[in-house]
């Protein structure tokens, strides 16, 4: 790479070729004001705020759009630059309403901040200000288009990153207006990000409208649990209430975006909460004390043989809780019936690479061939899908999918959804196998819909064997990827909470073979309750709590510190931003205390001891030796059915959220009337 030498404010700097003047200035430590420029989006150059002076140029130049060149002499602190920026600012403010006191962006507004530096205190503009009617953009985005300064960041985001070209600028000049086509709701799972991108208060969050001011909020940097990606987020709380969720930059995972579910499901943390231990007496829940609750459960356990006790772990459970549950089942009640899956997903836990997204999320950008097997990444892992789209936009990578998975925001070729095709790939008879072998960095993503089939084992083992046999799995690149859907999935596999291939525990449950069932945040089990005694430990009154006999209220991901392992196998910690409501306790404490009652001894004396033990266990587990044996699997001729995904209702928090319900009803309405086409 050739390096360029140039001067910024008389300071010599050396930069890589292909950068803009603005980036060069940033490297020299000079901050340039900007509205339309955003490093993740294409360059528009229309706000003119980033004007700088360049030697030999009679006029100031827009630094965001000017490529840096050898020998340039840039000045950013001259009277000319200051005057130019003042002029631009005056024009921007000419039509911008003076409604900062009632604007939700107030306090975190780029225009407000920059006008403090470059604005003048009075206006020479005597005419009437422009008025633009509000636009409808769905239940998530509130618009106040009079405030718009036409930076077109939102338009570029929708077209480039989200892949939903629904936003546009209509009219021209002073009459330009940003809108969706005929004011329809944006049909994207990433639409909320335009709120962060908007440098003014034109696009603000609808559920958060007039809720709080940014300086009043307590900010906690944590991670998200809505899917297995583990997006990095910041949770803003006011008192105990979670007001909003914002993305935090992590270039390796979510860049600087988050999905709408991550952002807006937080109002589900306030409703449907369990805040008191409850016991079902004559089909009615009665409030009881924790002590009574523990005693009721202990009595039941004492009269039940241990192999009749089962436990199921849910999709939002953190690893501490899972580890306590594991110890509770192994040591306190000596039962083996503990399971983390809610379906028959085939997982081979012999090696860690068997259940991870081995190419890493960053690696997606390097892939030169992508094969999706029974997976709908747009709904199962939205942020990961944005990376696939990014790769497609840059490289025009060939993408194939086994099964029709609908609009993925990038074009892909559909293959017939049958297991026959896997057999053909394995036997090297298909064109796909040739394409995989020909590419340097192929990417195969196997999803839950495929692993859930009877032939899930066949699909996984054969694809793996095909890749190993052809030496495609190397130290640098592992093309074999599993896409788990739940935040707790990889953690539970690491903790060996997968009992056996066919999920016999679930089968026995469906046959009503157990007498006591512990549901630890597990609400997705489909079975008919008969005489079982069900203990529900969790945060929300949902499917699990409904059938429970005793409810022990727990905490959500924002109310307790907890580890989560994301689909790449990264161990991340979620931090406590708020505290559980009423009498509810942090999840890990509950079984620990129950164990104290049963055995007169806590499983762990304190949280530190628990974390030490957990990390120790994970350390040992990761050193598992790779086995080279493949079990041969019988071929079953089967259709690969893509499970329909209820995106906005995928977990208890989302189901309790009003905003998510609104999004869902809009989506289903669109499908019914067919107006989307």
């Amino acid at each position: 790479m050739t390096m360029l030498k140039l001067k910024v404010n008389d300071k010599d700097i050396e930069i890589e070729e292909g950068l803009t003047v603005l980036q060069a200035c940033e490297q020299a430590g000079v901050e340039i004001p900007r509205f339309c420029y955003h490093e993740k989006l294409s360059i528009a150059g229309n706000c003119r705020m980033c004007l700088v002076e360049m030697e030999k140029s009679p006029k100031p130049i827009a630094s965001c759009a000017m490529p840096a060149a050898e020998g340039m002499n840039i000045k950013t602190n001259t009277p000319l630059v200051e005057k130019a920026r003042k002029g631009v600012m005056e024009f921007l403010l000419a039509n911008h309403p003076l409604d900062c006191p009632v604007c939700d962006q107030g306090g975190e507004c780029d225009l407000q901040d920059q006008s403090m530096y470059y604005g003048i205190d009075k206006s020479r503009f005597k005419e009437n200000k422009r008025f633009v009617p509000e636009k409808y953009m769905g239940p998530l985005i509130k618009t106040q288009m009079t405030r718009c300064i036409h930076c077109t960041r939102c338009v570029r985001f929708a077209t480039e990153v989200a892949g939903i070209p629904e936003l546009g600028a209509i009219g021209r000049g002073e009459d330009m207006q940003i809108t969706t086509y005929l004011e329809k709701a944006m049909e994207s799972e990433l639409s909320g990000n335009v709120i962060d991108l908007c440098p003014v208060g034109a696009l603000t969050s609808k559920p958060y409208v007039f809720e709080a001011r940014p300086w009043e909020l307590k900010k906690t940097e944590t991670i998200d649990v809505m899917d297995a990606v583990g997006s990095n987020i910041r949770v803003d709380t006011y008192g105990w209430e979670v007001k909003r969720v914002l993305p935090r930059i992590n270039e390796e995972i979510n860049e600087e975006w988050i999905s709408d579910k991550t952002r807006y499901a937080c109002d589900g943390l306030k409703s449907q909460r369990l805040d008191h231990p409850l016991k079902k007496i004559n089909n009615e829940f009665k409030k009881i004390s924790w002590k009574e609750a523990y005693e009721t459960i202990a009595e039941q356990i004492k009269i039940t043989s241990s192999d009749k006790i089962a436990g199921f772990i849910g999709d939002l459970t953190n690893m501490e809780t899972m580890f306590v549950t594991k110890e509770f089942f192994e040591k306190t009640i000596k039962s083996k019936n503990l399971e983390a899956r809610d379906d028959n997903t085939y997982i081979n836990t012999e090696e860690r690479t068997n259940y991870l997204f081995n190419s890493q999320i960053n690696g997606i950008e390097e892939a030169d061939f992508i094969l999706l097997i029974g997976v709908n990444p747009r709904l199962e892992a939205t942020m990961l899908n944005a990376r696939i789209r990014k790769n497609y936009v840059v490289n025009k990578t060939e993408i194939y999918s086994i099964g029709d998975v609908g609009d993925q925001t990038y074009p892909y070729k559909k293959l017939s959804a049958e297991t026959k095709i896997i057999k053909e790939i394995y036997e090297n008879k298909s064109e796909i196998s040739k394409k995989i072998l020909d590419s340097k960095k192929p990417l195969v993503i196997i999803g839950n819909s495929a692993l859930n089939l009877k032939s899930g084992k066949f699909i996984f083992e054969n694809i793996k064997k095909f890749l190993v046999d052809n030496k495609k799995i190397t130290d640098e690149w592992n093309p074999l990827n599993i896409l788990p859907v739940n935040a707790s999935s990889v953690g539970s596999y690491d903790l060996n909470l997968v009992n056996n291939e066919e999920n016999l525990t679930l089968k026995k449950l469906k046959e009503n073979d157990f007498e006591i069932v512990f549901l630890i945040g597990q609400d997705n089990l489909k079975f008919k309750k008969k005489a079982e005694f069900i203990v529900y430990i969790g945060s929300h009154g949902d499917n699990g709590a409904e059938i429970a006999d005793v409810i022990l209220p727990g905490a959500t991901y924002t109310e307790q510190d907890g580890f989560f392992t994301n689909l790449e196998g990264k161990l991340q910690k979620a931090y406590r931003a708020s505290f559980p409501p009423g009498e509810a306790k942090e999840d890990y404490k509950i079984l620990n205390e129950l164990s104290e009652l049963l055995k007169r001894k806590k499983l762990f004396q304190n949280k530190d001891e628990l974390i030490d033990n957990l990390l120790n266990y994970l350390d040992l587990n990761q050193k598992k030796i790779q086995s080279k044996n493949f079990s041969s699997v019988d071929y079953i001729d089967e259709k690969i059915i893509i499970n329909p995904i209820d995106y906005y209702y995928s977990n208890v928090i989302a189901r309790a959220s009003k905003t998510m319900s609104e999004c869902r009803s809009i989506k289903t309405d669109l499908k019914k009337t067919g107006t989307e086409g």
Partner: protein
């Protein structure tokens, strides 16, 4: 000029007729492979031609599908250019130039005539349903100011009386004679040329 209003009465369906499909394909072939979207402006014009001089939303959708591009992109183009009409216009569509040269020569008097004779408001179809008028920016015939454009023809060197006369003719359904109304040939001086006399086609 403010943002163009989109008609509330929209036809449900729009499709190119056979001739226009052929023309559209010809337009698309003018652009290199993968760049067919560049033909959007020509196609919008064809649609406007076919649909009584205005473009319904159905036509924009149709064109978007025809060129395989997002609806909003076609919508952006259609709202950007002032010569695309997004709501119905009269059979005789008067475009009165009010840019400086025409304005100095009395364009606003012509506007007053239009208000009196056609309809009180711009872009409103006259009571007999025959004509509508709007103010436009420079049409490039400043030498013959003031002037108006009716459908595809220019009517130049006008005053109130002459315009009234023209409007009366159109009300009867007749197409008035285009060109200068002071007997000039194109934009030549009124009493024949004084320069370049020897050159025939100058």
């Amino acid at each position: 000029m403010s943002l163009k209003k989109i008609s509330k009465d929209q036809p449900k369906k729009f499709e190119f007729n056979e001739r226009n499909i052929e023309l559209a394909k010809k337009m698309i072939n003018n652009y290199p492979e993968g760049k067919q979207q560049s033909a959007v402006m020509s196609l919008l014009y064809l649609a406007q031609r076919q649909n009584n001089n205005w473009i319904p939303l159905a036509a924009m959708k149709y064109i978007a599908k025809f060129l395989n591009m997002p609806y909003i992109k076609v919508y952006e183009v259609a709202t950007f250019y002032s010569m695309y009409n997004l709501s119905p216009v009269g059979k005789f569509f008067y475009q009165v130039c009010t840019t400086t040269p025409c304005m100095l020569r009395g364009a606003y008097k012509l506007v007053d005539v239009c208000k009196k004779k056609i309809s009180n408001k711009e872009n409103e179809i006259s009571s007999d349903g025959n004509s509508s008028w709007m103010e436009v920016e420079c049409l490039g015939a400043c030498i013959n100011a003031p002037m108006i454009q009716i459908n595809d023809e220019y009517y130049e060197d006008l005053d109130e009386k002459k315009l009234e006369n023209i409007i009366e003719q159109t009300m009867k359904g007749k197409k008035p004679k285009p060109g200068s109304y002071r007997g000039r040939v194109n934009s030549e001086p009124e009493n024949n040329r004084t320069t370049l006399v020897g050159i025939k086609n100058a």
